[in-house]
C-alpha cells in the first residue's frame, strides 16, 4: 500500500558525431546550445555551455593521436544538462590529457557545475554538467 512516490525526471538524449576537425566545432557549439535552449537556462548559462563544449571538442582535436570523430552525448532533464565529449572509434586520446591544465580546462571547470573524466576504450571522455538554477 505504501508505494514510493517517485516522479522520474524524464531523460532525453541527443547524440552528435562530428569529424575531429576545426571547421566542424561550430556545428557542435550550435547544436548543444540548441539543446540547452530547451531547458530553462538563462542566456548566460547557454553561453557557458556553448563555450565549455567547444573547449572540450578543441581538446579532442588538439590531443587526438589519430584523426577521427568526436562523439557528443547530451542528457537533458528539466533540471540539468550533462554533456559527454569523447573521441570516436578512430580517435585515441593521450593518456595524459587529464593532467593538462591549459586554458581550455580552466574555462570548462569554471563554467560548468561538475566536470569528470572517464577512461574508455576509445580514449578519455569528458563529462560536464550544468544545472538549471532557480531564477
Amino acid at each position: 500500500m505504501n508505494q514510493p512516490v517517485t516522479v522520474p525526471a524524464e531523460l532525453d538524449v541527443v547524440e552528435l558525431r562530428i569529424p575531429a576537425k576545426a571547421e566542424w566545432v561550430a556545428v557542435a557549439r550550435l547544436a548543444v546550445a540548441a539543446v540547452a535552449n530547451r531547458l530553462d537556462f538563462s542566456v548566460e548559462d547557454i553561453e557557458d555551455v556553448r563555450l565549455a563544449i567547444a573547449e572540450a571538442c578543441t581538446n579532442v582535436i588538439r590531443h587526438a593521436t589519430s584523426p577521427g570523430q568526436i562523439d557528443i552525448r547530451c542528457e537533458a532533464t528539466l533540471t540539468e544538462l550533462t554533456v559527454e565529449v569523447g573521441g570516436g572509434a578512430a580517435v585515441r586520446l593521450r593518456a595524459d590529457v587529464r593532467s593538462e591544465d591549459g586554458l581550455g580546462i580552466i574555462i570548462i571547470q569554471s563554467l560548468m557545475d561538475a566536470v569528470e573524466y572517464r577512461a574508455e576504450q576509445s580514449g578519455v571522455v569528458l563529462q560536464m554538467t550544468k544545472r538549471v538554477h532557480a531564477r
Partner: protein, 114 residues
Amino acid sequence: MDIKVQVRESEHEAYVVELSGEIDVYTSPKVKDAITELIDQGHYNLVINLEKVRYIDSTGLGVLIGGLKRVREHGGTVNLVCTNPQIKKIFDITGLVKIFGIFDDEQSAKKALV
C-alpha cells in the same frame, strides 16, 4: 561563424587590429597570421579591438597571449578593447585580466600604449 580581421595604423606608430565575428579553433589561425605579420614588420604596440567579437575560446586567447609574449620581447605591449560581458568573463576566469590591459573603448586603449 566567421572572423573578419581589419588592420589600421593609428597615432604614435600604434596599430589597431579590429576583429569581428567568432574566434575559435577554426578561425584563430587567421587572427594569428595578422598579428604575426604586424610583429614581423616591427610593430610592437598593438591595440586589439574585440568590440565586435561575439565569441572567443581558448584558441583565440592563446593567439592573444602569444602576440603579447612576442611584443613584450621588444618592449611593446598589447591592449585590448572589450565591452561584451560574456567575453570579459572569460578573461576574468582565466586570470588574463591581470596580464592584458583591457579597455572599454579604443581611444583609451591607444592612449594607454604611450
